[in-house]
């Protein structure tokens, strides 16, 4: 049942990869996220070289996001206009991120960058999600009414030039914040191999204050464009995309995602967020631990030999 991956140059158990794709796909469908943050660490754990893992699973994100966007489009829950502005920033960010990653690999500091990014972003987002959703669950159990939320955008959003109308999102704001948000997530997508939904969704909700109904669909749309770009760049610049690996993952992934989406209706939104927050936090801590725990071997091979 083993298959030799031509680019990763390792032999792996293929049903395990399909299963992994299905599980991550299920999680991604259930929570409406790409699931890249979960996939990359597991692939590395299975012995796939990190550069290949990060680059190859991006296409898994493309597949699950495509199927997500199609279903959100039929519900008219995608704002293509703001999505394109964000994707513009995202493509620029991905270009920068791939070059930055190459440079970090040459310096031998790619592991550090990846571990830090996971620890900081997943740690922070996970903690916030867990805190917010647990508070909501506690209030429901006690029968309290949710406190009134401050529904105002930060004032600085109004002072910026290049204002555009985004009717579907109910916004009339400068194009700079969504462009910058997209760019930032693009850089992360290249370094961490993630779609970036876990940062995009809260930022779109709480910073841009987009209409809640279009947030997930629009973020998925932006993610497709940016991860597609990342995949092409990784293949073109680093030759680290393994088509056999990504096909195995996405075969399981698309099926898992459909079942995940069906199941998501059975749970309350805050319960889902609490579980997701916990998963995100745990992955962040797990990846960050390597910075603090004494490694079993002080020496390690650094990938990325200068050509």
């Amino acid at each position: 049942m083993d298959i030799y991956l031509p680019i990763a140059e390792v032999s792996v158990n293929w049903p395990l990869l399909v299963l992994l794709g299905a599980v991550v796909g299920f999680v991604s469908g259930l929570f409406g996220i790409g699931g890249g943050f979960l996939m990359a660490p597991i692939l590395i754990f299975l012995g796939i070289p990190p550069a290949v893992a990060v680059a190859s699973q991006a296409s898994h994100v493309v597949a699950s996001s495509t199927s997500g966007v199609i279903s959100y489009t039929s519900q008219k829950a995608v704002d293509y206009k703001i999505g394109l502005v964000m994707a513009g920033g995202g493509v620029l960010g991905a270009l920068l991120g791939v070059e930055l990653f190459r440079y970090l690999r040459l310096l031998g500091q790619a592991d550090l960058a990846v571990a830090l990014a996971y620890l900081l972003f997943l740690g922070a987002i996970g903690t916030l999600m867990l805190y917010e959703s647990l508070g909501q669950i506690m209030r429901r159990v006690r029968g309290e009414v949710a406190p009134h939320k401050e529904r105002r955008r930060p004032l600085w959003l109004y002072g910026l030039p290049l204002k555009m109308r985004f009717p579907r999102s109910g916004l009339y704001i400068s194009a700079i914040p969504p462009f910058a948000l997209g760019g930032f997530v693009g850089v992360l997508s290249a370094i961490m191999g993630v779609g970036g939904g876990f940062i995009l969704v809260p930022a779109m909700l709480y910073v841009l204050r987009m209409r809640a109904g279009v947030v997930v669909g629009t973020s998925l749309f932006q993610i497709i464009i940016v991860t597609a770009m990342t995949t092409i760049l990784q293949a073109g610049r680093n030759q680290t995309v393994d088509i056999v690996l990504s096909t195995l993952l996405l075969l399981g992934g698309v099926v898992g995602a459909q079942y995940g989406a069906k199941w998501s209706g059975r749970f309350r939104a805050e319960e889902l967020r609490a579980v997701l927050g916990l998963i995100v936090l745990m992955v962040g801590i797990q990846m960050g631990l390597e910075l603090f725990v004494r490694p079993s071997d002080l020496f390690a091979f650094a990938p990325g030999i200068a050509q």
Binding site: Y4, I7, A257
Partner: protein
Amino acid sequence: MIAALPPPPPAVSAPAPERSIGTVDEVRVAAALTDARVMVDSSFRGASIVLYGAVFNPGDQPADVVVVVRGPDAPVRLVKKTRNMGVWLNSRPVLFEGAPGFYMTASTRPLSDIADFGQLRRLGVGVDHLRINAPEESRTVTRYGVRDVVVSRLGEDYLDFRRAVIRLREAAALYNTDPEGVEFVDRGLFRAEVELPAVAPTGRYFAEVWLFQDGEPVSVSNLTLTVEKVGIERDIFEFAHRRPWTYGLLCVLLAAFTGWAASRLFRRQ
């Protein structure tokens, strides 16, 4: 049977022992591999190749056989983790050149019993005698009036780095030392197994079969072995390296199509 084997190439560095000039031409080793070509296809999980050979030794003096297999050289970069303010960080990578991607020795006895340190070092036989060095880290200086003394910027750490290259490769089953790997199945007839792990690099491998007597190499037989990707594995690898941008685009289209097809399929159900 033995006579049918092709005559071995002349010994590379076999100084004739003074005692038995008459027989030295006769003492020789000949060897062959069961498989000179290892094909890496989608079911590749490593390979086990048998090297077999014959020792033609008319005298009574015992002979030792040492089999050395080395894979294609590729530079490796190594980092050392150091603790800075409670956080483990990577040092600047050190580039080592001349590290074979695969290296194994199999012998009838431990190498140190077969020949002395100087001899093994000169022939480059044994993991401890691999010519791995970090050229960028060394510079030549004049010390105590002696010119061109090689000094490493890594200082004392240099040996640790060198040992780490070997240790990490041994952990991946890429470097191997088997002091009892050469087995005599009959008088003069021996076999040794070459275990290639799935992560073994592709390319040309060189096998040397040395015959030692009294700590001196008396004969050597050279063989080559090719590890190459075949079939679809080769096609994909070549495609990804020759036309990387088209390949990337194809990966994305495939992913998008799969996503689209899945959503179509599931909506119907």
